[in-house]
């Protein structure tokens, strides 16, 4: 089992490289055409504030999707968390405890999802669809007729504050990304995620405790949704029952664009992080260019479909990843590369 994962881990991530190139091209293009896009790099960094919450949800969604499951409740959980932190702050709870309650709610929803999916064996699509409704209704009823808004400047810093030129929320996202990428790439838990998604029976026969892994991964997704909710509340200086719900589909879009197989078993979280920036900057850049949100949404759709068609057709034709195929092509033309080629052929 470790053998499978190791071979994949040390290969250069071809899709990630492609996405990075697209990201760089995109940033260059918008910087050249739109006066206020870059602003010496500062404007670009501030723009990330608008899609960091989506990115945090995408981290959790990617881990869940790796196991072949899905968490439809993540967006609603973020809404609930935002409402909880907002209400607590308005009732005079300190900032620290209020944030802990909100993330705690996220953990609770995630844990509940995980337990029902793992112990009762009910499909995660159905379970999280149900918890999505529960979380939304709870958020609506806690929010009531006038949902909380107008928080302390210290709390708002989480959403709109800067450390030097770097937004606080971007730093939070960076830390969470490093943690999740490290855990998923370099630990047994991470390898178990992919193996369960690839073949759950095989995973169980090889000694992986699939149930506890599933409980953990749903709890991870829930707690990340909790963090996203806190940042959303801080960014908008208000909390509403739909504040996170609308981020679910963009987050899943990032996961898919990041090359994670929607049926599980394959994918890298690092590439999902790059995809978050590709999609986020694309949307913001188009809006700044004066495109209507209609056009921006449509172009996002085309980019996603185009990327998937290319990825799938390349992989299907070659039976290997993009970069491996490219290297093989280079190897055919360069006799000196023969050893590398034979190595690749073995796979």
């Amino acid at each position: 089992m470790t053998g499978i994962a190791l071979a994949r881990r040390h290969r250069v991530p071809a899709w990630g490289v492609t996405l990075t190139l697209v990201l760089v091209a995109e940033l260059f293009y918008f910087t050249l055409t739109t006066r206020h896009f870059a602003e010496g790099g500062k404007g670009m960094l501030v723009l990330t504030e608008q899609f960091v919450p989506t990115g945090i949800l995408a981290l959790g969604a990617a881990a869940v999707i790796l196991t072949g499951n899905i968490d439809l409740s993540a967006g609603a959980t973020a809404s609930l968390s935002a409402i909880v932190v907002g209400s607590e702050l308005q009732h005079g709870t300190g900032m620290g405890p209020a944030i802990l309650y909100a993330i705690g709610i996220g953990v609770a929803v995630g844990l509940f999802n995980g337990l029902v999916v793992a112990l009762l064996g009910i499909d995660s699509l159905l379970v999280t669809l149900a918890t999505q409704f529960i979380a939304t209704s709870l958020a609506t009823s806690i929010g009531g007729e006038s949902p909380p808004y107008n928080f302390s400047p210290a709390f708002q810093r989480l959403g709109t504050g800067l450390v030097g030129v770097i937004p606080v929320s971007l730093l939070i996202f960076a830390v969470l990304s490093v943690v999740v990428v490290t855990v998923v790439t370099y630990t047994g838990f991470g390898r178990a995620l992919a193996l369960i998604g690839y073949n759950r029976s095989a995973a169980e026969y090889s000694g992986i405790r699939a149930r506890s892994v599933l409980v953990s991964v749903f709890t991870l997704s829930g707690s990340l949704a909790g963090v996203a909710g806190v940042i959303l509340a801080a960014y908008y200086n208000s909390a509403r029952d739909d504040i996170g719900t609308t981020l679910l589909l963009p987050a899943i879009t990032c996961v898919v664009l990041g090359g994670v197989d929607i049926f599980g078993g394959r994918g890298r979280i690092g590439e999902v992080v790059v995809a978050v920036f590709v999609l986020g900057f694309l949307t913001q850049g188009l809006l700044i260019q004066g495109r209507s949100s209609l056009t921006a949404t449509m172009i996002t759709g085309f980019v996603l479909i185009g990327a998937l068609i290319i990825k799938v057709s390349v992989e299907r034709a070659a039976g290997e990843t993009l970069l491996a195929a490219t290297r093989r092509l280079v190897g055919q033309r360069t006799a000196a590369r023969r050893p590398l080629r034979s190595l690749l052929d073995r796979e």
């Binding site: 492609t18 190139l21 697209v22 091209a25 995109e26 293009y29 918008f30 055409t33 739109t34 006066r35 206020h36 404007g43 608008q50 929010g143 009531g144 007729e145 006038s146 808004y149 107008n150 709109t160 960014y235 908008y236 200086n237 208000s238 509403r240 029952d241 739909d242 504040i243 609308t246 949307t283 913001q284 188009l286 809006l287 260019q289 004066g290 495109r291 209507s292 949100s293 056009t295 172009i299 980019v303 185009g306 990327a307 290319i310 990825k311 057709s313 390349v314 034709a317 070659a318 039976g319 290997e320 993009l322 195929a325 490219t326 093989r328 092509l329 055919q332 690749l344 052929d345 796979e347």
Partner: protein, 366 residues
């Protein structure tokens, strides 16, 4: 696996990379072309100016209208009105909004306008909720853009002026008076609103309660249904209200989607004519119900004229000629308006409620 490999696969790969780059580039390029197209449009409506004139020069200004979402007929009517008077005001109207009725999405659109190469001089919004757009609007103000609201407001500190559709007490009175005139001053009426935290709808509900308690104490407001601004949900909620309140005299749907929903429910239950429907909404989606008589009263305001007022106020705000609270101003053919601090600072109340009837609805197209 890789025994049957030839250059063909390599070509696929290379083509793939090229296609990926081409896709992104062409998407962006077409965007740039369209962007280039925007400025000339603006220049052209300035009316025979010098060829290729830069927008914002010679008193020309751009007004960006950002309603809750794209494609709602009432907002299109606002834009139509603004465009009618725009040439006289040397103004270009840029109508843009998000695809979904979402506060965060709307904030994104506003941020995009503020940072664009040709930022508008004035932004007029109708807010999806009172708070989500506030950071973006404050950024707009910081960038020197004037901000006016219409229809749905945000926290007053984030905008310069707000054009309120109609006085809340007047609307509450008009609805209740219409009910009493037709069905007498006792019994139960049911209210069908949009969402629990919808600011304007809650104001109207409060106005109706206040008016009933002071004038018609025998009239009772039953439970309130929430149709989530969705026609099908509204119909379900209306059906529930009717079934659970056997003595219901009238339904008062106070949201654009709730009116046709309530009417459909009344009709489906065979109660047309027995249970009255008095709503707040636009006439276009309800034309058939005017014709068959199941819609007993419909109120709104003239959306086209409201759009004209938005344009007049935008021009005056941009020129720094808007009076402070307590002052009044003249807006072309629309007449004179007063700026008040009631119910919120720097508010302009647009008009009295306009009643649509069987006889006059055909004159309005929204």
């Amino acid at each position: 696996m890789s025994t049957r490999k030839k250059a063909g696969k390599g070509t696929v790969v290379a083509a793939g990379i090229v296609a990926a780059v081409a896709l992104v580039t062409s998407a962006c390029t077409s965007g740039a072309n369209a962007g280039g197209g925007n400025a000339p449009t603006g220049g052209a409506s300035g009316g025979g100016g010098t060829g290729g004139a830069v927008v914002n020069n010679n008193g020309d200004m751009t007004l960006a209208i950002v309603p809750k979402l794209l494609g709602l007929s009432v907002f299109e009517a606002n834009v139509k009105g603004a465009k009618q008077v725009a040439p006289n005001l040397h103004m270009n109207v840029n109508y843009t909004a998000s695809v979904k009725a979402s506060g965060p999405d709307q904030a994104n659109v506003i941020t995009g306008l503020v940072k664009s190469n040709n930022p508008p001089k004035v932004i007029a919004y109708s807010a999806n909720d009172p708070t989500s757009e506030v950071p973006a609007l404050q950024a707009a103000k910081a960038a020197g853009i004037k901000v006016i609201g219409f229809d749905s407001d945000v926290t007053a500190s984030a905008r310069d002026y707000f054009i309120q559709d109609t006085g809340y007490p007047e609307m509450g009175q008009a609805l209740i008076d219409a009910v009493v005139k037709k069905f007498g001053s006792s019994g139960t009426v049911g209210i069908l609103s949009s969402t629990k935290d919808a600011t304007i709808q809650n104001e109207w509900i409060k106005a109706m309660r206040d008016y009933i308690s002071s004038k018609y104490p025998d009239l009772k407001i039953g439970p309130i249904g929430y149709g989530q601004s969705n026609q099908a949900t509204s119909q379900t909620q209306a059906t529930n209200l009717i079934n659970s309140n056997p003595d219901l005299k009238a339904l008062i749907p106070i949201d654009g989607a709730a009116v046709p929903g309530a009417l459909a429910a009344v009709k489906a239950l065979g109660q047309a004519g027995k249970i009255g429907v008095f709503g707040i909404g636009d006439p276009n989606p309800n034309r058939q119900y005017f014709a068959d008589g199941s819609l007993t009263g419909l109120f709104l305001w003239d959306e086209v004229k409201q759009g004209q007022l938005i344009a007049y106020v935008a021009r005056m705000v941009a020129d720094g000629k808007m009076p402070a609270s307590g002052g009044s101003f003249t807006a072309g053919d629309l007449g004179t308006f007063t700026v008040t601090n009631d119910p919120a600072p720097n508010t302009i109340i647009f008009s009295k409620p306009l009643e649509f009837t069987k006889d006059n609805y055909a004159q309005y197209d929204f």
